[in-house]
């Protein structure tokens, strides 16, 4: 099969993306060796999922309907000024929380004895996300005495 390197050369030689892409597009349209090295539409279809694969298989409506109702209710209940007050209150609460954390850190840095990390016990016996099995990770950093939990869905990668 004849090989054309013009496409590969254009990429480093033309730094302006728009020009480079325009030149590449024009070259590909006219260069038959370049076109021969491309997968055809049937090959692409054979490795990708299409709408037909999901026809009648996935009903998202029940999941979305509840959210739409909630969104609709929230929209009718909250006039603009009320939303502004909510935003102001949330910002104030955030500031207070940040101030609290800073004060606590400052306090701990001034000789008070912090609670021992080993005293804190966190046990997760099972984890679910939307009633589906999930996997939980408990992370504990060495220095900071911080523990955080990450829960992740377990079903990965289904083929077409």
């Amino acid at each position: 099969m004849p090989d054309c390197r013009i496409g590969d050369l254009l990429i480093p030689l033309v730094p302006v993306r728009f020009w480079r892409d325009a030149l590449l597009e024009r070259h590909i349209r006219r260069c038959s060796p370049c076109r021969e090295g491309l997968a055809g539409i049937e090959e692409a279809r054979s490795v990708t999922w299409s709408g037909e694969d999901f026809e009648g298989r996935s009903d998202l409506w029940p999941r979305v309907q509840g959210e739409l109702r909630r969104a609709g209710a929230a929209r009718t209940e909250r006039p603009a000024f009320r939303r502004r007050w909510l935003a102001v209150s949330a910002a104030a609460a955030g500031l207070l929380a940040a101030a609290g954390v800073l004060l606590l850190k400052w306090d701990q840095g001034n000789g008070r004895v912090p609670a021992s990390v080993s005293d804190i016990k966190l046990i997760i016996e099972s984890s679910l996300i939307y009633d589906q099995p999930a996997q939980a990770y408990i992370f504990q950093t060495r220095e900071e005495g911080t523990t955080f939990v990450w829960v992740e869905k377990t079903n990965q990668g289904e083929g077409p």
Binding site: T48, D53, L60, Q135, F139, T154
Partner: protein, 178 residues
């Protein structure tokens, strides 16, 4: 019923019209998000989020444009966000595992720990390339329509598609000779 009429109905508060939109585009949306995310649950989550985002922004929809392309653009953005989230999660996991900071792993019995994608031919392409390939092969989009979904220029969309087809051909040839 035309998309424009369905959108108008939704804007007038008739939620059942939105159900019709979802039934019309649900399967196509799942296919697009599966090709980008390659995970069934993530794809369902992305579709749900995209349909909600679309509903909230129906008022901004320009009826002179194609609803399908507008919705696909929103869905592609949601999928990109999901991929960014996945990358962040992986980086966090890798860091935590490297630092030996994982105290406990509570595992669902029988569930695999693997986070990597399967060795599929499609996985060799970038998500953007997979999106282009899908739009071209399954939705039969033109370069202009692809550009509208991707939010880029037409030549850039063509180049993405060219790269995707080139990589796919190489991968298929490799598989054939293996």
């Amino acid at each position: 019923m035309e998309d424009r009429e369905l959108v108008q109905g939704c804007l007038e508060g008739r939620v059942e019209f939105y159900r019709e939109i979802m039934e019309k585009y649900g399967a196509q949306a799942m296919a697009l998000s599966m090709n980008m995310l390659m995970d069934l649950q993530d794809a369902e989550d992305a579709c749900q989020e995209a349909f909600l985002r679309t509903y909230r922004n129906l008022g901004r929809f320009d009826s002179g444009r194609s609803f399908k392309n507008w919705f696909f653009a929103i869905l592609a953005n949601v999928c990109r966000d999901a991929l960014r989230g996945r990358r962040r999660r992986r980086a966090l996991m890798e860091k935590a595992l490297k630092e030996d900071a994982v105290a406990t792993v509570v595992r669902d019995p029988g569930a695999p720990l693997a986070l990597d994608l399967g060795p599929s031919v499609l996985a060799r392409l970038s998500p953007q390339e997979r999106l282009c390939l899908h739009l071209w092969a399954n939705e039969e989009c033109s370069a202009n329509e692809m550009a509208a979904v991707l939010g880029c220029s037409r030549p850039t969309a063509s180049v993405y598609l060219h790269r995707a087809r080139k990589k796919l051909k190489a991968a298929l040839n490799e598989e054939k000779h293996a």
